[in-house]
Symmetry: C2
Subunit: 644 residues, 2 copies
């Protein structure tokens, strides 16, 4: 490792995002190039010039009805008491909708109002007014009228108008070429055999597809090693062939983060660091007249920085306004702390519960891609405020359609693998339904129901005094609230152990004896409460357990940890051990119930969910996994009178 | 023409749209086909199966910082008063963000908190806690967790997650093939030399692009003649190679509309006619197990019918929910009448004026494509109500992004060609600004300002008594309102005549003498008021003028009419005559002013508009057209005290 970089301290700026953005937009090389393409291929493309009609539509006086064309003035005598006969050819002709009106005719009478006397003669009993049922020339489009200004993004019906006006080949703004350069010695392609320390390069594909969506033409460069000369070479080459350059990563201030120096050497650096989180360590510069954006390596920071700086460059090149996301006003389920002087972009889960949108922050770690993928919205905390209190209302930018958010079932509480199965099955039957789940543990699930932040919570909480599951907790915490405790599963909890159980663990005492590296669950998780009960029954304390403080948020995460450690051990459900090909020693049979608000239980969504759970097909699928038994013909558990 | 079809009366049904839709969805042939494609190519595609992670991310314990890895327990003694030295290799190792933590280390100390003593030794003054600054295995993605259910439409960041989880080739729902069959003897390709009666086939391209947007794979058939055998052949062939068939048109009940009989003959007809306008004459049936949708010929009817019936088939095939448009609550500027028992889809213009969204219906003629293209939204009037009163509030589905609607300058009043130029110039400078104009005439423009439905109105109204333009009308109609009358152009009005002026027209009396076919403007248009004044000055009446009742809504439309008629004549502005290569005999120099609400005049939009008008570049462009003079250094005209 190159120690020489150690001493070089780089201090990142905290430049306001808007200022940094204006600087690069002002420095962007324009005008854009124009290309001529067939109108039939122009969906989603931006016009480069105003486009005018070459012909009118209709381009002739056209009949708007099936009927006969007549000279209106010659029909003025027609009356119920005075039917008028007309001769074909000289006095009328048959026309269909869309036919040209031959001279000298100037009106159309609907076929329904015509009596056919013979092949040559018809009779009418009502006069026609001039120009009736005739679509005059240019009724729809008038020759020479402006159809679209420049910078118009063409939609399906727009293409029809272009063809109708005989604009078959049209001037379109060329897609700006955006070269994406992934850098890093640790990066490997997604289909590689993975070694410890390898990181799969996937940001480049994400960038390329964002740029495609925005209307640019991405070019994904191969992975470049963390060597200044190679990076310099790639940047210089890209500046010859691209309109915009994106380099990822090396934009921070670590010992290998020399990208900013390279850009400074072969071009100009405008900005290094903006007052926004995550995404702060961004580099904005220019090489050979082309704007270069250096985005941070952590995925969420990277996607935000791309949106802040690359999207406006693409849109300006295309001459179109930047899209804005739909927003919704939400009630905040938790306090949100933000740093003064910097914008904060907080990923949020949003649920529609009890007639209002309630939102909770997801993890703010910039490295957790799934938090971006699972987010329903982004809360942008402005630089001049230090956050929001729980219960405050705030405006959130939506990352999913509002309708989808409104239809989602918000699932909280304990994690169980069957919830994914339930979600997938529900979506199969009702494509517009979705279960959005957060794994927070049983206790937090009950709290989410109490605060009106979730529709359903999965809970499995053993009461040490009564040896009963769930009921006493619900009675105590939800006194005065109208909820339903619906029995869902009986499932096996047990030790999750490396294959072959090398430490021969069967009891909690064996963990201590074998000095196993235990992997625990977070506070409030049912599994942790079970573990603490096992400990106290054996007269042991948390101090006796190596790894007691190592907290995971799901059964699978526990199993994944055990998988990597010959001396590991965890407590969890059977299918998690099975999924990772680990050993499993049963410890307890527990009751995993679904706690629901009554309003949800009685809603369409609730009814559909219960129907699905009780369906033979679902039961069969669940029980095939092993370690599960779906409760048959379940009835809600009896709660105390205070909980209705 | 085939008289035989005359007697065959077909009565269309009025089936509720939802019922017709459910029928075809139930009859649709499923399951869909699955194909396996590279995750990097899967943007916008729907997953065919739930997708689970093949590896965790990280797949090893990774450093979250640049720094050193240590055994946490060995650092517990470190303190400011008791610095602890550690030896490289056995007691610590350097790690960068993302590096694997080698065994037996279990914590990372940030490089900023490390004092380098020499190449082999460092010193720390603070202990580390176990697992600090370490991203545990599966922090982001846990092996075997469900990443996406089936029916998930993949977004850019989703593709990153797939690669990170080593799901590089994924099961995707095949795009349903939708064959589009255009039929009609009158149809020609867009690049044809047009003859009277020819209609350019453009619906097929519009359908294809709608289907593309919805996720289907359109196949556009060549044009099929209106011959039962040929149509039958095309339908049968399509039923072998497609998942869905669209046929256009022949779905109505005219003498050439035999499509319904053909489908009945070779398949099943479920529906002929739905209780919705426009778009009523639709055919829904099935041939060889494939749903066939016969859509009407008029463009707007066709696009609506396609959305009602083809979109749900495509979405159901893909297993995704149908998209819903964002809606906005608007105040209705006009009364809207609807038929009882049928839904009405009314195209609307929406403007954001004085802090509220105000909407007005566009033409309801199903043949006017531009009304769909120009619409900002769709008002759906349910079957059980007969419409809305002016001033009612209603929910409108948006056809353009809300932000774009909110930023638009709503222009009303008289049509002038320079307004298009202004719109295009404004958009060039401010890509998110747009002028949305409706050509309603000067008087209607003043009324639009009075009712708060427009920001600006172009007016040119000559007061016969004072011989002054505009001021007296504004004073009278807008008493008590705060408006600005801004002088914009002086322009030439005159006779628009066929090349060579065959009837030698110079005065209004010449129209009568030469028996010209006059083309008039609509009531309230400034040009019509001028014409009426010319008539009365000559002692003539409207009865003396052939075509007085033939009303066009723009100068270009008048010119287009004159263009097609050797004995035609119209009154209008010079550039309209020039655009159509017609003769022009000047009659009057008139003042075309911009009437604005004061709040608009003083807004950003207003300021930018006036700046643009006064820019030398704009003046030059306008005056280059000919017949115009932009008013230099204009100041608002003086209005009466009552109009502030």
């Amino acid at each position: 490792m190159e120690q020489t970089y150690y001493k070089r301290k780089i201090y990142l700026e905290d430049k306001p995002r808007a200022e940094a953005r204006e600087e690069i937009l002002a420095a962007q090389q324009l005008p854009s190039e124009t290309e001529y393409i067939s109108a039939t291929e122009a969906l989603g493309r931006a016009t480069a010039e105003p486009i005018f009609a070459r012909v009118s539509m209709p381009h002739y006086h056209a009949s708007a009805m099936d009927g006969i064309a007549v000279v209106a003035e010659s029909t003025y005598q027609a009356h119920e008491q005075n039917p008028l006969q007309l001769k074909k050819g000289s006095q009328f002709c048959y026309v269909d909708t869309g036919n040209a009106i031959p001279s000298p005719f100037n009106a159309v009478i609907m076929i329904e109002h015509v009596d056919v006397i013979d092949d040559e003669t018809i009779e009418i009993i009502e006069p026609a007014t001039p120009w009736q049922h005739i679509r005059p020339i240019g009724e729809d489009i008038v020759q020479e009228e402006m159809l679209f200004p420049q910078g118009h993004v063409l939609r399906p019906a727009d293409l029809g108008v272009l063809l109708a006006a005989q604009q078959t080949v049209i001037p379109i703004v060329k897609k700006p070429v955006v070269t994406i350069i992934p850098t890093g010695n640790e990066l490997v392609e997604a289909d590689s055999e993975l070694a410890s320390g390898n990181i799969i390069e996937f940001n480049g594909t994400v960038f390329a597809n964002f740029i495609k969506e925005w209307g640019g033409e991405p070019k994904l460069h191969t992975i470049v090693k963390d060597e200044p000369e190679k990076i310099k070479e790639a940047l210089l080459a890209a500046s010859e062939t691209s309109d915009i350059i994106v380099i990822n990563a090396g934009s921070s201030a670590g010992r290998k983060d020399f990208t900013v120096h390279i850009i400074g050497e072969i071009g100009t650096v405008f900005t290094h660091g903006v007052a926004a989180r995550p995404g702060k360590p961004v580099i904005l510069g220019k090489i050979n007249g082309k704007i270069v954006v250096g985005v941070p390596g952590y995925p969420v920071s990277a996607y935000l920085a791309l949106e802040w700086f690359v999207r406006p460059l693409v849109c300006k090149y295309l001459g179109i306004p930047e899209p804005k996301r739909q927003t919704v006003t939400v009630k905040l389920g938790r306090r949100i702390v933000s740093s003064m002087g910097a914008e904060d972009f907080v990923r949020m889960n949003i649920g529609y519960v009890n007639g209002q949108f309630v939102a909770n922050p997801l993890t703010r770690a910039a490295g957790v891609t799934m938090s971006y993928v699972r987010a329903d919205g982004l809360l942008v905390v402005p630089p001049n405020i230090i956050g929001y209190e729980q219960g405050d209302f705030a405006e959130v930018e939506l990352l999913r359609p509002l309708e989808e958010v409104r239809n989602s079932i918000v699932f909280s509480g304990s994690h169980d693998l069957t919830i994914d199965l339930l979600s997938s099955q529900l979506k199969r039957v009702h494509t517009d339904r979705k279960i959005v789940s957060s794994h927070v543990g049983s206790m937090a699930g009950i709290m989410a129901i109490r605060k009106g932040e979730a529709h359903v919570a999965g809970i499995h909480l053993l009461d040490p005094s009564t040896k009963q599951y769930n009921v006493s907790y619900v009675n105590k915490i939800l006194a005065g609230q109208d909820v339903v405790l619906y029995p869902f599963l009986k499932r096996k909890q047990g030790w999750i152990l490396p294959k072959g159980n090398p430490l021969e663990i069967e009891t909690v005492a064996d963990l201590v004896r074998g000095k196993a590296n235990f992997v625990n669950r977070q506070k409030g998780a049912g599994t942790r409460i079970l573990f603490d009960l096992l400990l106290s029954e054996e007269g042991l304390s948390s101090e006796d357990i190596i790894g007691y403080e190592r907290e995971m948020f799901s059964h699978l995460a526990v199993a994944a940890e055990v998988k990597g450690d010959r001396y590991g051990a965890g407590l969890g459900i059977y299918p998690a051990a099975k999924a990772m090909d680990l050993d499993f020693i049963p410890v307890a049979d527990e009751e995993y119930d679904l706690l629901m608000t009554r309003s949800f239980y009685e809603s369409d969504n609730g009814r559909q969910l219960v129907e699905l759970i009780q369906s033979p097909a679902f039961k069969e699928q669940v029980e095939k996994i092993g370690g599960y038994q779906v409760v048959e013909n379940a009835e809600p558990k009896r709660l105390s009178e205070e909980v209705k």
